[in-house]
């Protein structure tokens, strides 16, 4: 409030009337109005009615509420309880009875559809509509990559080589055997059999999921074809052992022991053979350079029993072998590799130290000439001898797509493609300046095979692209130490495992071009098998010069 210049009796605030205040309060008391000094005034309210807004809406308030909701509680409990389990069983399918078809109606049906079907068949035969049409269902992989590098440090520390790899029946476990391939002497070297489960999440490349210590060097390994955890191995001492990798405490199931029956030389290869008649039971076949091919069967407790045996003697080989040296005495023919034919259960191919593959039969009857007798009569299995190569054969492999074709590879650095019907090889490919240690047909593509070379490379040869040089060559070792073994995974054909002299096993993932069959591959394979190699002087040219 502003100050006043003249003094007046103080009047109570808020009591003064509006008129008095409007005139400054001085008019009534002190004579005619004169403009007074500056004073504070409070004017009354002035209301201005709205011209555009009508009557304000009527407002009212009410409230409502639902009637109370009735709730009730009740409890129940079952008194009796029953448990039941349901499981489906694989249905045993009885052979469905062939229904007697109504012949007239069947005939009428065939008469109706035959013209349409014949028309479509002949039109399809001439059609070019789908030439070159291909569908890609999966993302194609372009290159060969190394998926895993596995090793067992204690074995690598001892300088052991990987002598053999094997995939199990389900394709998820890879086992490798350690030993030495360059020892000529008896050795008391302890070695290992290691297994990795590649489908498990916590895969540690240096820690195998199962390790078995073996008192002697293991030369070969083979997983059981249907039991995923049983694996058989052949030792340097000539024994054949069977392990079950799912048993932690004592994996050894059966062993042959060192008896008169067992091999006297290191076992080069073991394979599982289906038993005739019982296709779910298997027997073990082992080959060794002492000339014996033995068939073992595990039964109950105790050692592996020798069921049948074969012995190779030089004089009993078929005449077709063009052998340089005339046989003298009872010379044994050492067997270094074996392959079973996928089409004929009685047929197997042996690779020998002399460099000639042999076609053998399990059903042979003739008794073998052996120096030492054995508990089971040994027979001479050889039916046909192929022409010799330049040196011992280290590996043979029968084609899973054609009954007559097989490959053999050895120290002459060539991979020879043979037909079982003739002595000369169909083709010989020079793949390495050094030895070839393993050859395997691909389980997915009829014209593809892989070789492991002494230069440390895994080579894949595609006979469709070029029959002179490999399609893909990947080097496994940095310093050129040899690759000793390789195996395709039959359940996942894009996986190829290879073991080398450094003690590492590498799992290679193949490109799509190497795993998918082309449209005409089977026909090309049949055509290849039907070729006849040149006769006469060509024979000397095919034999490798050492």
């Amino acid at each position: 409030m502003a100050t006043r210049l003249q003094s007046r009796p103080l009047c109570q605030a808020g009591r003064a009337s509006a008129g008095e205040l409007a005139t400054g309060g001085a008019a009534g008391a002190h004579g005619p109005w004169r403009p007074g000094p500056l004073q504070d005034e409070t004017l009354g309210l002035a209301s201005v009615p709205s011209q555009w807004r009508g009557v304000q809406g009527v407002r009212g308030e009410t409230s409502c509420q639902t009637a109370s909701i009735a709730t009730a509680d009740a409890g129940t409990q079952g008194r009796k309880r029953e448990d039941a389990q349901v499981q489906t069983e694989a249905p045993v399918r009885p052979a469905p009875p062939v229904p007697r078809p109504d012949e007239p109606r069947l005939l009428a049906f065939l008469r109706r559809v035959e013209p349409a079907v014949t028309r479509e068949l002949s039109r399809n035969w001439q059609s070019h509509a789908f030439d070159g049409f291909e569908v890609t269902w999966t993302e194609p992989q372009q290159t060969v990559t190394c998926l895993h590098t596995l090793g067992y440090p204690p074995a690598q520390g001892q300088g052991l080589h990987v002598t053999s790899v094997s995939w199990n029946a389900t394709g998820s476990v890879l086992a490798c055997a350690y030993g030495r391939l360059d020892d000529g002497d008896w050795s008391t070297l302890k070695s290992y059999v290691c297994a990795w489960n590649l489908d498990r999440r916590g895969l540690h490349p240096q820690q195998p999921s199962a390790v078995v210590e073996v008192p002697s060097a293991v030369m070969c390994l083979a997983f059981h074809p249907t039991q995923p955890s049983q694996v058989a191995g052949g030792l340097y001492s000539g024994e054949v052992l069977l392990w079950d990798l799912s048993r932690r405490e004592d994996p050894l199931l059966w062993r042959t022991g060192l008896t008169d029956d067992t091999h006297t030389d290191p076992v080069c290869q073991v394979v599982w053979l289906p038993e005739a008649g019982h296709s779910h039971r298997f027997r073990l076949l082992s080959v060794a350079p002492d000339g014996k091919v033995l068939l073992w069967q595990g039964g109950g407790t105790g050692p592996l029993q020798l069921r049948e045996g074969f012995a190779l003697a030089m004089q009993q080989l078929p005449r077709s072998a063009r052998l340089r040296k005339p046989p003298r005495g009872e010379t044994e023919v050492g067997a270094t590799a074996v392959a079973l034919s996928s089409f004929d259960p009685n047929l197997f191919i042996l690779g020998t130290e002399g460099g000639f593959p042999l076609k053998c039969s399990l059903a042979a009857e003739e008794a073998a000439l052996v120096r030492t007798p054995s508990s089971v009569p040994l027979r001479a299995p050889a039916r046909f001898a192929f022409s010799p190569q330049g040196g011992p054969i280290y590996s043979v492999s029968c084609s899973p797509f054609h009954r007559n074709l097989f490959l053999s590879a050895g120290t002459d650095g060539h991979a020879h493609l043979h037909s079982a019907l003739q002595a000369q090889p169909l083709a010989s490919l020079r793949l390495s300046q050094q030895y070839l240690f393993a050859v395997r047909w691909s389980p997915a593509r009829p014209l593809l095979f892989a070789v492991a070379s002494g230069e440390g490379a895994v080579q894949l040869v595609d006979l469709q692209r070029s029959s002179q040089k490999p399609a893909v060559s990947v080097s496994q070792t940095q310093d050129g130490s040899p690759v000793y073994c390789l195996e395709f995974n039959k359940q996942q054909p894009q996986l190829l495992a290879a073991g080398d002299a450094k003690g590492t096993v590498k799992v290679w993932g193949l490109s799509t071009a190497l795993t998918e069959q082309g449209p005409r591959e089977m026909e090309d394979l049949d055509r290849l098998a039907a070729e006849v190699a040149p006769e006469g002087d060509g024979a000397a040219g095919c034999v490798g010069q050492v």
Partner: protein, 99 residues
Amino acid sequence: MIRKTEVEETLKRIQSHKGVIGTMVVNAEGIPIRTTLDNSTTVQYAGLLHQLTIKAKSTIRDIDPQNDLTFLRIRSKKHEIMVAPDKEYLLIVIQNPCE
């Protein structure tokens, strides 16, 4: 039988066409009645193609109830399968076409 029945002759004519790998006749329940392939392959083809033919027929009928399935062909990388359907029987022919 000295004289082959006409059914066998008709099937033999179809089988001898160029590129034909196998021929079979399947009844309405999916049971093979006549076949030129081995038993396990025949049973597999018969069961699978019978179901596929029923599905194809219902597809055509669902799209247009006035329409019906007359012929079914499946082309794969290796060969072509042709199915001639009928009320009671199914004729399946597998051909390896010339590429």
